[in-house]
């Protein structure tokens, strides 16, 4: 997976790995928008450009195996990657694809990744990632996951 430098158009290979205890000191609300320490009991992953230490994005998830589903609790990019002046493109898409791959590895054709964003944010996720809508819940299932993998899962 890669992120694109919006200034130069250069691709940078990324690594997505579990967050470890040493990371929490740098995960401030000022830069990552949420109190990530509250998520310690859940699975959390960080996205970095390969061979660098700076965290560009984070996601926390809850596994719901009885429903063959992974629910995204929090997902964020770092402050400088927010909005129209963002430094790198594709951070959220890569994190979503990474979680989707875990869902497929665990649940095969039954895999589902869900989230429940509010307001216009939902519209953005529907348009950008082709999410299905059920009430206030958005989900991607195997067909949408195929598309995500095709779009994001390459170097």
């Amino acid at each position: 997976m890669v992120v694109i430098d919006t200034g130069t158009g250069t691709s940078h290979k990324v690594e997505i790995e579990p967050v470890d205890d040493r990371d929490f000191a740098s995960l401030t609300k000022a830069r990552y928008f949420f109190d990530w320490k509250q998520e310690k009991e859940f699975e959390m992953y960080k996205l970095r450009i390969a061979n660098t230490r700076d965290i560009l994005g984070l996601v926390s998830v809850e596994r719901i195996p009885e429903e063959w589903r992974l629910h995204i609790r929090l997902l964020t990019v770092s402050k400088e990657n927010k909005g129209s002046s963002k430094k790198f493109e594709n951070i959220a898409g890569n994190l979503l694809t990474f979680i989707s791959k875990i869902a497929v590895r665990e649940y095969g054709e039954l895999a589902c990744v869900s989230l429940k964003p509010k307001g216009l944010i939902a519209r953005h996720y529907i348009d950008k990632f082709g999410m299905n809508v059920t009430g206030l819940t958005l989900s991607i299932e195997i067909l949408e996951i195929f598309n995500l993998i095709e779009t994001y899962d390459h170097d």
Binding site: H71, G83, E109, T137, I142
Partner: protein
């Protein structure tokens, strides 16, 4: 704030973060129930080919995980993955044997761990998988070999108690003093 400004702000917000934590277990269960009903409807529309593609993708992701973080099993990971691979594509295992030009007996022996796959078998499997995964996802040609040899390494390390006493009798370091 005008509604347009609010729209832009919210759209930008989508880029930086989503807080979609459930407020309660009931909230999660209610959502799960509604979502499951909708998903089951959508699942009915999956074609047989799409299901095969999903199974092959799942298998590839499992093999990647095993290569990255091998776990010692009492059963054979290689034959387990091979069985899943064949069963995802073929309704009869003999058809796979025919496609890679081996006898059904040989394939059965390999799948039941009564015989090790030889290099020829691994090469044919490699080519078969390359062609099969062409329209599924990226699949590295070294994957089957990596799984096979990863398992061998796991076996050797995990069974040291059994082989080490005998093998050690045959090993001496006569130049140890010089090395130190």
């Amino acid at each position: 704030m005008t509604s347009r400004k609010r729209e832009i702000r919210e759209a930008e917000g989508a880029e930086y973060g989503v807080d979609s934590r459930y407020s309660s277990k009931k909230d999660r269960l209610d959502d799960g129930k509604a979502l499951m009903e909708a998903r089951l409807q959508r699942m009915k529309n999956l074609s047989a080919d799409q299901i095969v593609k999903a199974k092959l993708l799942q298998l590839k992701l499992k093999m990647d995980e095993y290569i990255k973080e091998p776990v010692y099993h009492t059963h054979s990971a290689f034959t387990e993955f091979l069985t899943s691979y064949i069963d995802a594509i073929y309704s009869r295992r003999n058809s796979f044997a025919k496609d890679i030009d081996v006898t059904p007996v040989l394939l059965s022996q390999i799948l039941n761990n009564h015989r090790e796959p030889n290099e020829e078998f691994l090469l044919r499997l490699m080519i078969h998988a390359e062609k099969t995964y062409e329209h599924v996802c990226q699949f590295h040609k070294r994957t089957w070999h990596q799984v096979y040899f990863q398992e061998k390494i796991c076996d050797v390390i995990a069974s040291q108690d059994k082989w080490r006493p005998d093998v050690e009798k045959h090993v001496k370091i006569s130049k140890l003093a010089k090395v130190l």
